[in-house]
């Protein structure tokens, strides 16, 4: 059975996919990213079996990375060159690496859902968690750049913001947010999750909250597994509980983060839980 775990980056999709892999076939991690990170043989994702890689993985990977970087976060309208590029990349992944189909994806959720189908699980996480995590990634990159001044690679939050500001200026400007990096990140998350979750819902996806799976785990996972026609194995139960062991983070007040989330996700009572 084909299962696709789809969600915005840092929404808990890796954890959800790993847990599901204990009840069903292995779920590959982000085929587009897989090309970037894993196909050169330095790494081997434990969930991946029968690795048949393209003849020229480096070239294939470079092509996919260019397409992903350029279009990440953008609504790919029918007939545009960007959509053709992305759909062609997805088709190539399906053809060259069929083992990677039935995967978790954090990029081009709509396109993956349309092209591949199957049972779609859309993971949504609180804006506080997602935007806070994006901020951590950026902070880490900033330190790295400071230590290695020659490093110029953009982070994915930077690429996302750049792409959305370029391609969706009106939409971008329609949302009030503080003029900070956190404000931009919150805007990017809201635009993407608003549109993708609604779209996937229409395609029959099951929209699940990461926090619910992590906190009210017994009933939330019970419901998701039932929906997927899966049974919880003993290995699955151990894995869920084992991975939920206390993971306290450094407690700190981050005013720019809180201000951004409050501004971009107002009235969060019923929608966002912020």
């Amino acid at each position: 059975m084909m299962i696709q775990v789809l969600g915005f980056p840092r929404s808990g999709t890796t954890w959800v996919a790993r847990m599901l892999a204990h009840c069903t076939e292995p779920i590959c991690m982000e085929p587009l990213k897989l090309n970037e990170l894993y196909l050169d043989g330095k790494y081997c994702w434990p969930g991946v079996r029968h690795l048949d890689i393209p003849d020229d993985p480096a070239q294939f990977s470079a092509r996919l990375t260019r397409i992903a970087n350029r279009n990440f976060g953008v609504d790919l309208l029918a007939g545009t060159a960007a959509r053709k590029d992305v759909m062609s990349a997805i088709e190539d992944v399906c053809r060259l690496m069929p083992w990677a189909v039935g995967s978790k994806n954090v990029l081009f959720l709509r396109e993956w859902a349309e092209a591949v189908g199957g049972k779609l699980v859309c993971v949504v996480r609180s804006a506080l968690g997602v935007v806070g995590s994006m901020g951590d990634i950026q902070a880490y990159a900033d330190v790295r750049r400071w230590k290695h001044p020659g490093t110029s690679t953009k982070t994915w939050p930077e690429l996302l913001i750049e792409n959305m500001q370029r391609e969706h200026a009106d939409l971008w400007n329609s949302i009030d947010a503080p003029a900070t990096l956190y404000g931009d990140m919150a805007r990017a998350y809201r635009i993407r999750v608003d549109r993708d979750a609604a779209y996937l819902d229409e395609l029959g996806a099951k929209v699940v909250r990461f926090e619910n799976l992590a906190t009210n785990y017994n009933v939330a996972w019970g419901d998701l597994l039932h929906w997927l026609s899966l049974e919880p194995t003993a290995e699955f139960e151990d894995a869920v509980r084992g991975s939920l062991a206390a993971n306290p983070k450094y407690i700190r007040y981050r005013p720019e983060l809180i201000d951004a989330v409050d501004a971009v996700f107002p009235g969060g009572f019923s929608q966002w839980g912020i």
Binding site: G129, E211, N216, Y253, R254, G273
Partner: protein, 273 residues
């Protein structure tokens, strides 16, 4: 009211845990004064929240007398929007005032019944804690099923709302099951409470955020309360976050009820069958 903090919430939303954690940064929290009187102060005397409060001993204080008067009132009106029943509201206000006068040490508490009345009467920094309906309704359903005799408190709320607010009750579609009724009460009660608490400047909190996005959520709350995380606070947070072992199970009655009552809202999503 100075530094008074009131932790208000819906039962089974994690308020005990949040109150315990806050007590490690803010000082003692008295758990549910109304409930305390029902149970008797003696049974609470050892809990760490009461450290330093020095409540009077049972024989020195008219706990049982207060309890006898307060319990029937609570039972009769729990779950009901008292703004529609001014006489009952006045009676609750009277009890609240009496508690404030007799037990000033019990002010600055966590409170789960008559939430708007406590907020309006006592003021302070108001926190309103909610939890995903899947967790709340599942927990209430267990209480209902485990109650061997008499009426469980979740069903008391259901009965009260059906009796005193039939018009409001009828506005929400739900399966005609125990879980359906429990989901309805939660939705109506929480939405009504928040409508009254929001203008008072209350801060809305989600239990799940404190567990999953804990560093940021606790950091924000402590800052809002002008508190700092103590070493004891951080240590206890780590100790209490490991999940309790619960079997993973599909509960169709629960899921049908929550989906019918909350739809796509409250972060539960829908999903096709």
């Amino acid at each position: 009211m100075g530094n008074l903090i009131q932790l208000l919430g819906y039962p089974r939303s994690g308020s005990t845990w949040v109150a315990e954690m806050l007590s490690l940064a803010a000082g003692p929290f008295v758990p549910e004064p109304f409930n305390m009187f029902q149970v008797g102060i003696g049974s609470h005397s050892n809990i760490q929240w009461l450290r330093g409060l020095d409540p009077p001993a049972n024989e020195e204080f008219p706990y049982s007398g207060i309890q006898q008067r307060i319990t029937p009132i609570c039972r009769k009106w729990c779950g009901v929007n008292l703004a529609n029943y001014p006489d009952a509201q006045a009676e609750i206000y009277k009890f609240i005032d009496e508690i404030r006068e007799l037990c000033p040490w019990a002010v600055g508490w966590k409170q789960l019944v008559h939430v708007p009345e406590f907020a309006e009467r006592c003021g302070g920094r108001l926190l309103y804690l909610l939890r995903n309906p899947v967790g709340v309704v599942a927990s209430h359903a267990v209480i209902v099923r485990d109650t061997a005799a008499g009426v469980s408190w979740p069903m008391m709320m259901v009965n009260n709302m059906e009796q005193y607010q039939p018009g409001l009750w009828a506005t929400v579609d739900a399966p005609d099951t125990i879980c359906g009724k429990l989901a309805k009460v939660y939705k109506l009660r929480a939405e009504n409470d928040w409508r009254r608490l929001q203008p008072l400047g209350a801060k809305l909190l989600w239990f799940e955020d404190f567990v999953v996005n804990n560093g940021m959520a606790w950091g924000d709350l402590l800052h809002w309360l002008d508190l700092e995380p103590t070493a004891e606070f951080e240590k206890r947070l780590q100790e209490t976050m490991a999940p309790t072992v619960k079997p993973i199970a599909y509960d169709p009655e629960l899921m049908d009820a929550v989906k019918a009552v909350f739809g796509n809202g409250w972060g539960i999503g829908s999903g096709s069958a």
